[in-house]
Symmetry: none
Subunit: 393 residues, 2 copies
């Protein structure tokens, strides 16, 4: 039998809000380590994987592995009946055809019980490849959501390009094209570094069958190669072109209107692009210094605010050690090799609903391989996989 208690219904509610439009039926695979859900989306294009660690529950007991076939629409309805801060207990007998949900109000004079029918669902437990991705990007989840939403207004798909400087999201539509560039800065690096490390460790821990705590706890070490470089840049004098300049830089362009060669979209050769970028950045620097003098740091000017990066004082530095409570702008990138892939925005927008679950998101990519979009909340994670578009589809 299963008995699992969450101290806050909000988590489950958010989870279901995240996936209910993508998947209508799925098995909750319960075992002693926790609850997992894995399903293709309704159109069999994307894959969703949810993981809830046993130790993320206030109480967890699952005597033996059991799949609970759940209609997510129904479950969503039932969860709507819980208040965010209700304590929720899930109960199912072995081989049960119902799932019982018990909601206890934070103040104890209200108890609600629900009983939801279960169903048999063909367990298409697709194995998910433990890929080593060429790039991993950590960034603000709301920023990612915003970008996807913005670009979805223009076109159907987005091209994601990752190189050492940052990540560029580009969409081309009939009436307009758009491109958003997120730059890796000392600030964003500091903020997100631990995230990728932790995530990596966690994954390792899991894949090796170990309990995840161990991996999760030692965040301090694991340094990928790229990481060290960046780290040095952090306070270096030698003015490394890239990471330093744009603290929280977010550049939007309309490539279509830009015929200059600094339009990276048009550039096929990565190296050239790199160089061009440098030039560009230098120029910006000068401009920015001027700007700083006159401009305050309002949101509308955020894009231009790069220059403030230079003044990145100790206060910003402090962010490094801090938990990611509010996710800073910018990105953190770990990469072996530059990557450029194109995805359907429709799905990404859908994935991005999970930003309610975490302040940051990680995008993992290798060329020709499905994108992994992953949100980690303390006690579990939700991952989405989406195959890239090939050619002009």
């Amino acid at each position: 039998m299963l008995e699992a208690r969450l101290s806050q219904a909000a988590l489950l509610k958010k989870l279901l809000d995240s996936i209910k439009e993508l998947v209508t039926d799925a098995n909750f695979e319960c075992n002693e380590e926790g609850i997992n859900l894995q399903a293709m989306d309704n159109s069999h294009v994307a894959l969703v994987a949810v993981k809830l660690d046993a130790d993320g529950f206030a109480k967890y007991r699952c005597d033996r592995a059991m799949p609970l076939g759940v209609n997510l629409t129904s479950l969503t309805k039932v969860l709507k009946c819980a208040k965010d801060d209700d304590r929720v207990t899930l109960k199912a007998r072995d081989n049960a055809d119902v799932l019982n949900l018990l909601y206890e109000a934070f103040v104890g004079d209200r108890v609600a019980e629900y009983e939801m029918k279960l169903m048999d669902i063909d367990a298409d437990q697709l194995g998910i490849p433990e890929t080593d991705y060429d790039v991993q990007v950590a960034m603000s989840s709301t920023e990612f959501a915003r970008i996807c939403r913005d670009l979805t207004n223009l076109g159907e798909s987005v091209k994601i390009e990752v190189n050492k400087e940052g990540v560029r999201f580009t969409s081309e539509g009939d009436s307009a094209n758009g491109s958003v560039l997120l730059i890796q800065t000392a600030e964003s690096e500091a903020a997100y570094k631990g995230v990728l490390d932790k995530k990596k460790k966690k994954e390792e821990g899991e894949s090796s069958g170990v309990k995840k705590e161990e991996g999760a706890e030692d965040e301090d070490e694991t340094m990928a190669d790229g990481e060290k470089e960046v780290e040095e840049e952090d306070e270096d004098e030698d003015a490394p072109k890239s990471a330093k300049k744009g603290k929280g830089k977010r550049i939007s362009k309309k490539p279509a209107d830009d015929d200059d060669d600094d339009d990276v979209i048009e550039i096929k050769d990565e190296e050239d692009a790199e160089k061009e970028k440098e030039k560009e950045d230098d120029a910006e620097h000068q401009e920015e210094e001027e700007d700083d003098a006159e401009e305050e740091d309002t949101s509308s000017k955020k894009r231009k605010k790069k220059a403030t990066a230079k003044n990145g004082g100790p206060s910003k530095r402090a962010k490094k050690d801090k938990q990611i409570d509010e996710a800073p702008p910018g990105v953190y990138i770990e990469m072996q090799q530059a990557v450029q892939l194109t995805f359907s925005l429709k799905y990404l927008v859908n994935f991005a609903k999970s930003s309610a679950l975490s302040n940051y998101v990680t995008l993992s990519m290798s060329n020709e391989v499905p994108l992994l979009v992953s949100y980690n909340f303390g006690s579990g994670s939700i991952s989405y996989y989406l195959a890239p578009k090939i050619g002009d589809e």
Copy 2:
């Protein structure tokens, strides 16, 4: 003529928001005691009764009783033109076919005048049974709304069971069943006790001074037997039993099924209807005069007096008069006998819109008898009646 001024348009706005979906046309029956509205809902299943006490108005004058036939959709539109804190004055001449509304801004630099067409509406002043219910439940109005909304996601109807421990709301649906239990606690009891007491007293006061019962149609027989018993439990010595009794009629669930001539809806002959109305009015006057004679005060004051009369203890007194500002969880129950009834959730959800008007709601039930859902705001009340479902319908 009528001239009635409310210091806050918000009240009227909320009132109309509450009922406009249920009823599209209704008579505002104005007389010197205030304004009453009573109507079956559009599908003739539920009954709505609104009462605005004369002394709830900043200024109130109504020379003689007059019904104002109002299209609630129009009135809602007109009221949308008022700001919440505008002072609103309603004006109508005798036999007028328009209602004038004057909005004066809280700060005196804005005056708006509206004139709305009135219409003739067959006055189906159905008598409402002055039932003494087997149970009365007081609870947070938002909690009630929440429960109804929640359960409506699961099924069409809700079973309400009341016993001494608390109230249970249960709904069964195709994919899930749900049940919410609210417990009576010391806290909730303390908070709501005064509410029910006050309400009870108020109802008595009303029934002794109001009209609409004279037509007392042959439905007196529907008075529940339990009524008298209950009455005695009332600690009040001077309880005007005579007034209480026989005034009530029961709601006819489907007027179409009622062949009695008292159902004005069915009357085709306008003149006859007219005459009946007159007779009614006369009767009303007489009754009222009598009442006034014995209880030399305005009806609303009567109520207050009585309410205060009942409770000796000053501590109780304090509680009683205390407004319930934020309604605590839990319920307060007064009961003679356990009750279990089933209702259509659709209507309850609709009723629950009135939670904007009061922080608490009272549910009054007897087996086999229409539920009364009642919201009391300081200067009046809104009551809904809904017949229970019988059997498996």
